[in-house]
């Protein structure tokens, strides 16, 4: 259980995290989503006590991270797989970490086995591929058999096999009742793994909901209608509380199901040439949600800043 309350962190005059409040529940994978620069890494650094917050508190199982008796038995965190001394062997890297928390030496071999690095245990990590470094980092998080695991963008730059391995790992860890907190800037990464979502943009909370809520909210977001009597239809549906937008001769109706739009058209005697549910993909829903909070815009096709912080 990780609790973040009113977390604010500034670097100079730039506010990286701005009054963030959320809680991460055990036994599930919580996805931490946001565009690049949204403050995900900063939030994780504050949880781990690497950065000191300017305001707010962070607690791991009710304790300040600095006060945990054996931090590695509580939290395993992987922020940056390349944050190791490349001149040290995989075995010695894990050994020096295990020693800080008085963990038995035998543990090192066990976690190397778990991530499949036993054969390169004596090799210096300088020569490791990104995928191997990622596995080494995960081995380190597992040394203390922790209740909470945190991964920052764990699949960035991995090949498909590596991505699948990480996904499976996260699900297995959560299934064992552990808290898994994983960040990503890609919704597609979360689609198959996360049970819960925390979405941030520009350091602020945008959404904190279950994955199923997020799917329900985003699918059927719009109904596309083609009709020769456009004006009448727009008038009729807006009178019922829907919003409309015209797009290439079609009308996009939001806030109303396709059935409702069809019924209204029938009652008003409006002829329809097309009536389609537009299923926004999760990626689109995520982009819509965060479009207004993207730090550096490069013009995202299809992403309009229509839904802002209404979630």
């Amino acid at each position: 259980m990780i609790e973040v309350r009113g977390l604010t962190k500034r670097y100079g005059d730039k506010t990286a995290v701005d009054g963030l409040t959320f809680a991460i529940e055990p036994g599930m994978v919580t996805g931490f989503l946001g565009p690049n620069g949204a403050g995900k890494t900063t939030t994780m650094r504050c949880i781990l006590g690497l950065d000191y917050p300017d305001a707010g508190t962070v607690a791991v199982d009710g304790h300040d991270y600095h006060e945990l008796g054996y931090p590695m038995r509580e939290v395993g965190a992987l922020l940056d797989a390349k944050a190791v001394h490349g001149g040290r062997s995989a075995y010695n890297h894990l050994l020096c970490l295990a020693q800080t928390n008085n963990l038995p030496k035998s543990r090192v071999g066990e976690v190397l086995e778990l991530v499949g690095l036993s054969e390169v245990a004596k090799k210096r990590s300088k020569g490791f591929s990104l995928g191997m470094s990622q596995r080494l980092g995960i081995a380190a998080t597992m040394l203390g058999d922790p209740k909470v695991l945190m991964f920052d963008e764990p699949v960035n730059g991995l090949d498909p096999e590596g991505i699948l391995w990480i996904r499976n790992l996260m699900k297995s860890l959560a299934a064992e009742g552990r808290t898994v907190f994983v960040s990503s800037h890609l919704m597609s990464e979360m689609e198959y793994t996360a049970d819960h979502l925390i979405v941030i943009g520009r350091g602020k909370l945008i959404a904190d909901c279950s994955m199923s809520d997020f799917i329900a909210r985003s699918s059927g977001a719009a109904v596309r209608v083609r009709t020769p009597m456009a004006d009448e239809l727009i008038k009729a549906v807006t009178a019922e509380g829907a919003t409309t937008a015209t797009d290439d001769g079609a009308i996009e109706v939001r806030g109303m199901t396709a059935e409702a739009v069809g019924d209204i058209a029938f009652e008003q005697g409006i002829r329809l040439h097309e009536l389609t549910m537009v299923h926004a993909s999760l990626e689109e829903a995520f982009m819509e949600l965060t479009a207004s909070s993207v730090e550096y815009h490069a013009g995202i096709p299809g992403a309009q800043a229509t839904i802002e912080s209404g979630v």
Partner: protein, 317 residues
């Protein structure tokens, strides 16, 4: 999707909290598991003993031309000069790397996640570094001393740790009928060097000089470590340490002699000019004696290590 088996054998139950002992074990693993430690320690030994031997050998050969140089000759200091002048810079590199390499590789974030109590991590680093440099410095200083004395043994003025050595205080060249003259190279025929007076060097004095030099170099390691903690950058830390130990003392010599010694005394490297001396009369009379002067170096080390500790705890990692 195939579920992964992430079950590990149960850990023994833990009591108390992760503390200094684990941190020291960890820092020891860190320092012994990178090649740079071995390279720099080998360099320290080669430079201190090798250059020390070259200086001793050269001096010994020179005696045959300048016999008079044996008067007031400090064999202990001669054998140790390479160690405390050049060896100190190599030790400074090891010491700075002990902390800056964790920043340059990003390892510091991993270390501080494993042990978030930063005072513990910092203290463990300082303790391991001090122990390692003290042992290595003592070993190096003794080897440099014995090798140097072996090369000087035929001169009759070599130092010893086992018995008292008496060396001449003054040397004069006497030539029949010409009276006294200075002892220069290539004595005229018929002239000879006459020694007068004597210095008695006790083994304890020699021992203190060797240990004093090792202590000095260990303090230099702590100075470089403190600088490393302050600047968190390998090249910058080494550059500052070399400037403080090597360049500032040279520049300082350009100051007016009325008051340059008043400044010199307070510089961190002044101690090496007095701790290595076994003949009291040869010591720089402008400086304090060995122990107070080592105290100055110790104060520098303490101040820099303390400032480094303060920022290590206070800054974002």
């Amino acid at each position: 999707m195939t579920a992964l088996d992430t079950r590990l054998s149960p850990l023994p139950p833990a009591t108390g909290r992760a503390g200094l002992r684990g941190a020291i074990a960890s820092e020891w693993t860190k320092i012994r598991s990178v090649r740079s430690t071995y390279w720099t320690l080998a360099a320290l030994l080669v430079v201190s003993v090798g250059i020390g031997a070259a200086i001793a050998g050269g001096t010994d050969a020179n005696f045959s031309h300048n016999l008079g140089n044996k008067a007031g000759f400090d064999a202990t200091q001669t054998s140790l000069i390479a160690f405390f002048e050049i060896g100190q810079l190599i030790i400074a590199v090891i010491a700075a790397l002990a902390i800056t390499s964790e920043y340059s590789t990003g390892m510091m974030r991993t270390s501080l996640t494993a042990q978030p109590r930063r005072g513990t991590v910092y203290a463990a680093k300082a303790i391991v570094l001090t122990s390692l440099t003290l042992i290595v410095s003592l070993v190096t200083a003794f080897i440099a001393f014995f090798v140097g004395q072996a090369l000087l043994s035929s001169s009759g003025v070599s130092a010893s740790l086992f018995h008292t050595v008496t060396i001449p205080q003054n040397a004069n060249v006497t030539c029949p009928g010409k009276g006294l003259g200075g002892g220069g190279p290539g004595l005229p025929p018929g002239c000879k060097v006459v020694f007068s007076g004597s210095y008695v060097i006790h083994p304890s004095t020699v021992l203190m000089a060797i240990i004093g030099c090792a202590l000095f170099v260990t303090l230099v390691a702590l100075i470089a470590f403190g600088i490393g903690a302050l600047v968190r950058h390998t090249a910058a830390a080494i550059a500052i340490a070399i400037a403080a130990l090597f360049i500032i003392p040279v520049l300082e010599q350009a100051l007016p002699s009325q008051w340059r010694w008043d400044i010199m005394r307070f510089l961190p490297d002044a101690a090496n000019q007095v701790v290595s001396v076994t003949i009291g009369a040869n010591a720089n009379q402008h400086l304090w004696s060995a122990w107070p002067q080592l105290g100055v170096t110790a104060l520098w080390a303490a101040a820099l290590v303390a400032a480094g500790a303060y920022l290590f705890r206070k800054r974002d990692a």
